[in-house]
């Protein structure tokens, strides 16, 4: 029976997991105490579990490859799937707080790997609270791109500290990103769009990309189209607000007088 159950959550025609078996609430409280395992430090992240093709169990710790893209709050994983083929040699991970959704993405990646030999081995997902545990997964300057697509808007002022882009959390993202690394944000909520933009604008370690740079960046095109949430917005003809910023070196190095 349990075997059947697992199979029935996969679509017969495509072999992909069916979303209706992974329904979850749209929101999750990032402040509540979490009870999932968290790696003690980035060196404890088990790469062979996430990327068995790159890290076969036989030769542990020989591959110097590290995760370079992080999709924070990856949801059902639409962006990751698109990025995976666009950057086939880059390891990328999705971080999602909702248990069931994470399970869905896990199944989806496995199904895609099975259906497309040689592809999708560079993508994985982990259930975690990225607002708390970014330093447990990534070393300083390890990441080259971070994605924050359609995050929870948390409208109430009381709940603004739950927003995933906030002045103090940007310090941690700046730590995980290399100098020159890029942070991508997009939302369909104008108020949140303004908030994210002003947080990034006011942070001394981020600068906005120019129009030309945005034009030339293949990831920017994916922001509004690749994810399930983005497609929904597009279907309904909604407007989106994006902010794309580059991590810069801190200029405030003038000696104390």
């Amino acid at each position: 029976m349990p075997g059947n159950e697992v199979n029935s959550t996969l679509s017969k025609s495509t072999g992909l997991p069916r979303k209706r078996f992974y329904r979850a609430r749209a929101h999750s409280n990032p402040l509540s105490d979490s009870h999932f395992p968290v790696p003690i430090s980035p060196s404890h992240v088990d790469y062979s579990l996430h990327y068995p093709e790159y890290f076969p169990p036989s030769d542990q710790a020989n591959n110097p490859k590290k995760i370079q893209f992080a999709d924070i709050g990856c949801g059902f994983g639409g962006l990751l799937i698109s990025l995976s083929t666009l950057f086939p040699e880059t390891l990328m991970i999705g971080m999602e707080l909702r248990d069931k959704v994470t399970e869905y993405v896990k199944e989806r990646v496995l199904a895609l790997r099975a259906a497309n030999p040689g592809q999708y081995h560079n993508v994985s997902v982990v259930r975690t609270n990225s607002m708390k545990y970014i330093p447990n997964y990534f070393e300083k300057a390890q990441l080259t791109k971070m994605f924050f697509l359609f995050p929870d808007p948390h409208f109430k002022e009381k709940n603004h500290r739950r927003r995933v882009i906030s002045p103090h959390l940007l310090d941690e993202y700046a730590y995980a990103l290399e100098v020159g690394g890029i942070i991508y944000t997009i939302t369909d909520v104008e108020e949140l769009g303004d908030w994210m933009k002003s947080c990034l604008e006011n942070h001394p370690m981020f600068e906005a990309l120019t129009e030309e740079e945005l034009e030339g960046d293949p990831c920017v095109k994916l922001l509004g189209t690749a994810t399930e949430e983005g497609q929904k917005v597009a279907r309904n003809g909604g407007q989106t607000y994006r902010a794309v910023y580059r991590r810069t070196a801190l200029s405030d190095q003038t000696p104390q007088t």
Binding site: S41, K132, P135, D171, E172, P204
Partner: protein, 421 residues
Amino acid sequence: MEEGEANKESEVAPALIAVHPSQKSVAVAVGPTLRVFDLHAGSAASLIDDSSVPFHRDSIRAIRFGSKGRLLVSAGDDKTVRIWSTENWRCICTVSSEKRVSAVAISNDGSYVCFADKFGVVWVVDLAGCDGDQPLVDKKATPLLSHYCSIITNLEFSPDGRFIISADRDFKIRVTIFPNKPLSGAHEIQSFCLGHTEFVSCIAFIHDQDCPQGLLISGGGDSTVRLWDPSSGELLDTCEVAVKAGVAESNDDAKEHAYAVTDLCSIMDGSLVAVALQSLHGIILLKCNLSARTLLVAKVISIAGEAFVPTCLGTSSCTGILWMVTGVSSLPGSVARVRAISGFDVEQDPAVVEDDKIPGGEKLLETLQGSTSVDENAFMAAAEAVKTAMCNLLIKKQYSTENRETRKRTRNDRKLKTQQS
């Protein structure tokens, strides 16, 4: 456990001690009471507080002298930070906090006071204009950095003043570059020191002439003391103190949180670290080799003839006397017990100082303890209360799967559904 009971216990605050950097005075805080004994004058210092709401109204959670000895800072559950001048013991500045305060630190040059609240935000106060001779000023604090919603247990400046270190209950130690203009925030994270498998309760620096920037030591709920390189975040050594010192039988005992490290304190310049553990009657002395970057248990110093589990340790950088206090805010009359250990500097064994030999003598004990006669049983109960409070506050509550499922089932929105189906 009932919710109310848990809350009540976490209200209990341990007694704290702080020693002036050149041992001109010693301060003890028990509950809302702050007591200072002036060793130069040989008498109790009378604190003067002209604030609109003078003195602390709730348990004090942190006290600390500035490294130059001009300031004493106290802060706690009443959401105020009070800055005292050690010249005249006047409160020169009161700062309001939005949340309860869990830790304080003073920058090495004495120009900034930093404090952490229970939501994980570290605030900075610019002391410019705060002077012992001037009337009381109300200062506003500015946010400096933040641990995302985690209780910050300890704050520390590195000896060279480059870094501010914050430790939290999510096993993390964050090393942040202390900026030239702290009022616009500390954005550049130097490193994270990750390795503890439970809350981090205390941090301290250990340094000497050969290593002026110093190494970081930390103690935590996992009964270990760890040695770190703060610039890289590299874990250099781990000492399972409870097991190594023969206090706990095995690592399993340690896992029960019975021997969480409550406080640690580096003694003199250099190599010795005093460690206080829950349930340990005395202290463990560790030897830190700064060039080999190792930590070893040197000695267990037990306190004979008395049940004494220190809740806080303090020392001054020059004298080589380790001061210890035990007590808890819930004791009637806010009594505490103060003891000292001396003899770290010479080639003799460090020994517990008898009450009549303690600097300041009976008078000091009377001032700081709140009473000369102390009931030993009360302090055993106190140590137990502190232990429970610390666990309740800092250890994540683990619910069994069934427990969680039950709660999910009884959720109001689910109830409706079940009735309908």
